[in-house]
Amino acid sequence: MSHDLRHDGTSTSAVPTTGTVVLGPTEIQRALTRIAHEIVERNKGTGDVVLLGIPTRGVPLAHRLVERLTAIAATDPGSADPIAPAGELDVTMYRDDLRDHPTRTIGRTQLPPGGVDGKVVVLVDDVLYSGRTIRAALDAISDLGRPRAVQLATLVDRGHRELPIRPDFVGKNLPTSHTERVRVRLAELDGEDAVVIQPAATTPTEGHR
């Protein structure tokens, strides 16, 4: 319980009163740097890569990955690849659980200028759990165009998949129990970087992603 969670006005999530910090700022930075390298390695460069963050916390993560991809490209003067652009993909209207939760606010979908046709789309989300958000994201993408391939990057994979979905790039595998809650807090939205596991049922009505 060595966390130091402060409340500030920018926070959009409840401040955890209890919980264990499993990743701190440094670990999150390192994980994202490694994921960026893996994206370059897997796709042999970033020529056709487009990163799409899933709101809310996938969006800043996608932008951070673009920063790292840019830094990686700068160390390789031979690379002529354009910088991979980032966008936002809201999946709310594609979810299969719209009737089981309080009405969800619809987020913004914003594709980079080139769209997704023929590109390699890397979906970016904070926590991978049941896989249902990614199922919705795949449907959303198919309405927006026809990418050459879709890959999945997630900061935390907590297991308990309910669909045949598997991430390509994982920041950290985090074995959890169904009843625990995993919260990702990012400086852009919450004022600090941390991944926190909270014990069972502190806020039972709030949905997980």
Binding site: Y94, D100, I106, G107, T109
Partner: protein
Amino acid sequence: MKHLLSAADLTRAEAVHVLDTAAEMAATQSREIKKLPTLRGRTVVNLFFEDSTRTRISFETAAKRLSADVINFSAKGSSVSKGESLKDTALTLQAMGADAVVVRHQASGAPHLLAHAGWLDAAVVNAGDGTHQHPTQALLDAFTLRRHLAGDPALGATSGVGADLDGLHVAIVGDVLHSRVARSNVALLTTLGAHVTLVAPPTLVPVGVDTWPCEVSYDLDATLADGKPDAVMMLRVQRERMSSSGGGFFPSPLEYSRAYGLDARRLAILPEHTIVMHPGPMNRGLEISAEAADSPRAVIVEQVANGVAVRMAVLYLLLTGQHDATPVPVTTTTTRTEEAHA
């Protein structure tokens, strides 16, 4: 939000939320594939006891873009023309499993009765009742106003997201007496922080208007010149609600047009940024001249497009999320659930 019956039921935060949702809906409508799977398997019934083209088509388009099944029910050619009551019609829709009922009725209060009489579990959307309310029209007008005047129109659909209409001045001109559009707009635009001036001949101003949160003027030229409105909303002269040829509300159509019509001369008085609105259908040559209706400042066609986005937002907000499944039986039609919960 379980039903949408009156624009006056919305708080400022709720209204802004509907408009923000509409902005995201509008953004999806510029895509190649406009259809979203959001309301798959849900049934929306358009229950129209009064003629309507654009409102019915707009709701039908909105529901279909969200993948809901749409059943159109118009009083003409249905059992209503054989004398079926509103209650029996409602019970029939309930038996068919309607999830939302969009109702237009010539009697003020009919949607309220449908929502609260306990006949239906469905969400009820008022698409115009008598001379009472037409909340989705007010929402689409507010959306159009916000997009042009509270944001950067170059941003397109998402212009003005999060904003209200604080400080804007809107002139609503014409047949206020018969206009549910005017009533809904006075309530909603005022809630959103705008200042509304109604302009009409004294015969077309309703009794009790002094209790409305707006100003009333009988002089259009003075209002346009001195009030410098940010938007001018022309209302249709509802001749079908007047007895015959004006019904004694004004001496002649020509005189009405001279005193209260928007023409090229009056258009020239307006500030540069002022937009011209009309809920449609227009009586060209009566309340609005062709020059005004077709001028670049007229956003009348855009209002129709925005209507689809706003109705998509309303259907989304009413049909998703957990709602209390048991209807609240209310015996009198004057009690609003919002008040009961307050």
